[in-house]
Symmetry: C2
């Protein structure tokens, strides 16, 4: 008989006492309940044999609970003979007392050893208040960064240096001045640019923050420079603190190469009193497969927000890094919907952004979104400054509800941008069904 | 942009304020989020066009919330070109204030108009305490019926009259005596026998309760006779009360032809101070399809228990009415796991039961299970009484951990039963993997 302590209804638990995972499993089993029970045991008190030390008291307190098991499709009478691999969705609740408040151990309970046991994907995580209360989340978030930059009622324009790597700090400072003074709000390093000898973090902070000051002085514009301080833990923290001391007003971390934990410790350090931009590189290793890993809404949404990212760059449904549109929207929802005391983070669906996409972006995400552009600015036919201008014109057109092609008739930068990159949705059904 | 009031995290709601549905949807959409939003609106405040009267205040209080949307498999980068029909699992939370405490309106919110909108199946329901508190559930439940019958430490043996319909009340009384005096605990009408002129409820109660008294007097055994009072509402209630007044000690309802509501009103009536056995006929119309309807764990499990059934007969993984084994077990778990203040109901996986199945039944369900037998008793080669005896011998063998074939060597009734019906699991993998 299956353990009645393990199989309980969702309604029978106090959700504040459990970290709950929702899973997708594809396998050839003839007894999914036995299999799910084994998973619950493996991830809490038990192992593959009965243990003499696993007392009833230990089980009561610490065994994981199976809160629901469903088959997709939910066959009732029989499994059709041509179905070899069955598909299941199920919930497991892990007693929060087993974990205390830490994401590393939550990941170990939710998807530890079982990450290596077949076609199993963690679709979502429900974190109780008792767990999340330990985290501060983004220090600034959507509203905080709007205040820092005096930007209201429109998306944030974020640009990155191009070419990605190879330039020296002085040239980057000059490029930053051109981008910031013509209308970019946040200028970020490329994820491939960390701390090479020919262009160190120290030198970049010096040159770029000089440019930031010059922009303020000459144009009145406030601009953030997000410097990539990714490194081994010990060096990363030293580098981050040194950068902030040297005047850096924003940091960037390649989160998925250093861990949520590194991000959260950084974000919660009182000395790091500047926003943090989370770059998604390497994240695909966690979420890319439809059947394995952890879903993008968790990886690029919930966990990175709880860990303290103020701005989250991630793939989008257009451009060079493909992602299913509904996933892109769900990540934005994870970053911005109410979540305990945690501030809203900026979603930045990026890669392949151009001015012709702006109406669709604002339609899909509203104004609390990062328009993150690289090639769409740098490769503008009239140059980088015109590239920035074209984005602002596209935002204006959208807010005025004027079609881009019409608005472009009197805005040569926008006209050049859409001549070069097109207008998203033309001949595309999406805008029609919206 | 999707409504940020509708798309919120599970963590952001107070689960006690919502009736939550978990759904499976299979469709060809290119925008599942838009589709799920439409479902949430359709099932709460909105309709297919924007409504001038749907104010922000109305939406805040009453709009349904989408708490999660997942694709099966959870494609991240792109939908493979050969996938025509996509599969999704999602949650919707319906504000409990919209519904108050009533199952009919909960069903209308959870699966009302949308029951007719494509391949959508309701996989599960999470009912908040604020909703369930209005229900009393089973009056007797597992423990209560054990007390009524003085049966402890073993499954309940339930038998039905066979042939199903056609006999007169006197013959049934005689059959009941034979069944009850030889070891059956509960004798139930067939679901096809309601109130025909040739064998009315009134006559059956008279004859059968005489037999019950005679059994008590002659053998000391306590026995329940579950009389089928299924009828139109008004007549059913009158019939139920008249039967109880005339001495009936148990009722049977064909729940799915009269509704959960009829059952719950009956169960909560203080005059109906006897247990109720719920028969599953017609339930397949609700749960049968893998893609449509409401899953069996809800129909034959949670809702019938909350509505007040003390004993629940339903299909099993053996015998004449096929059901996937994991579904059969999940229903038993729904009927017996802790659920607010609601008592545990007896699961009765039935149809095609014989003595050779008993070890497997007890292995899978423990002792809190109904062994419900018709043909397995009536068609025993040595007659009905020997059929009953064989079941008790099989239970003894299981409790003593002696293989049936060995135990049968000294028990001729059991030997005859397994000669006729076999032993479940012989040459079958299930017992090996257990």
């Amino acid at each position: 008989m299956l353990d009645p302590k393990i199989f309980v209804d969702f309604e029978s638990i106090n959700t504040d006492d459990y970290v709950i995972g929702l899973y997708l499993l594809e396998c050839e089993t003839t007894d999914i309940l036995k299999k799910v029970e084994a998973i619950a045991l493996e991830q809490s008190t038990g192992t593959w044999v009965e243990l003499p030390g696993e007392t009833e008291e230990i089980r009561d307190r610490s065994v994981a609970r199976v809160l629901g098991v469903y088959e997709i499709p939910h066959y009732e009478d029989a499994i059709p003979k041509d179905v070899k691999e069955r598909k299941f969705v199920f919930f497991i609740g892990f007693p929060a007392v087993n974990i205390n408040q830490q994401i590393p151990q939550a990941l170990t309970a939710l998807y530890g050893n079982i990450s290596m046991s077949g076609k199993l994907k963690l679709l979502d995580v429900i974190l109780p208040k008792s767990f999340v209360k330990r985290y501060k989340g983004p220090k600034f978030g959507v509203e905080g960064i709007r205040k820092l930059l005096d930007v209201n009622g429109r998306p944030l324009l974020v640009a990155m240096f191009k070419p990605c790597i190879g330039m020296d700090a002085k040239s980057l400072g000059k490029m930053l001045f051109d981008l910031g003074s013509s209308g970019v709000d946040v200028i970020k390093d490329d994820e491939l640019l960390a701390d090479p000898n020919f262009c160190t973090v120290e030198d970049r902070v010096e040159e770029c923050m000089k440019a930031v000051a010059k922009i303020k002085k000459e144009t009145g514009r406030k601009v953030l420079y997000s410097v990539n301080i990714t490194d081994e833990f010990d060096k990363m923290f030293k580098k981050a603190k040194a950068a902030v001391k040297a005047g850096a007003n924003c940091l960037m971390v390649n989160v998925y190469t250093v861990s949520f934990s590194a991000l959260s410790v950084l974000a919660e350090d009182p000395e790091i009193n500047v926003p943090i931009l989370a770059h998604p590189d390497f994240a695909g290793a966690f979420f890319g497969s439809p059947n394995y890993g952890v879903a993008s809404n968790v990886i690029l949404g919930k966990l990175v927000r709880v860990s303290g990212a103020d701005m989250v760059i991630y793939p989008s449904y257009f451009g060079k890094v493909p992602m299913v549109k509904e996933r892109v929207i769900r990540i934005a929802q994870e970053l911005t919907s109410p979540y305990y005391h945690i501030k809203r983070a900026w979603p930045g669906p990026s890669a392949g952004m151009h001015a012709g996409l702006v109406p669709q972006i604002i339609t899909d995400f509203g104004n609390d979104v990062i328009i993150g552009a690289g090639g769409g600015i740098h490769a503008h036919p009239m140059g980088l400054k015109a590239g920035v201008k074209a984005f602002h014109q596209a935002i204006e057109a959208t807010h005025k509800k004027i079609p881009l092609r019409e608005y472009a008739k009197t805005k040569k930068e926008l006209q050049a941008a859409i001549d070069r990159f097109g207008v998203y949705g033309e001949g595309d059904n999406y805008t029609l069904t919206k």
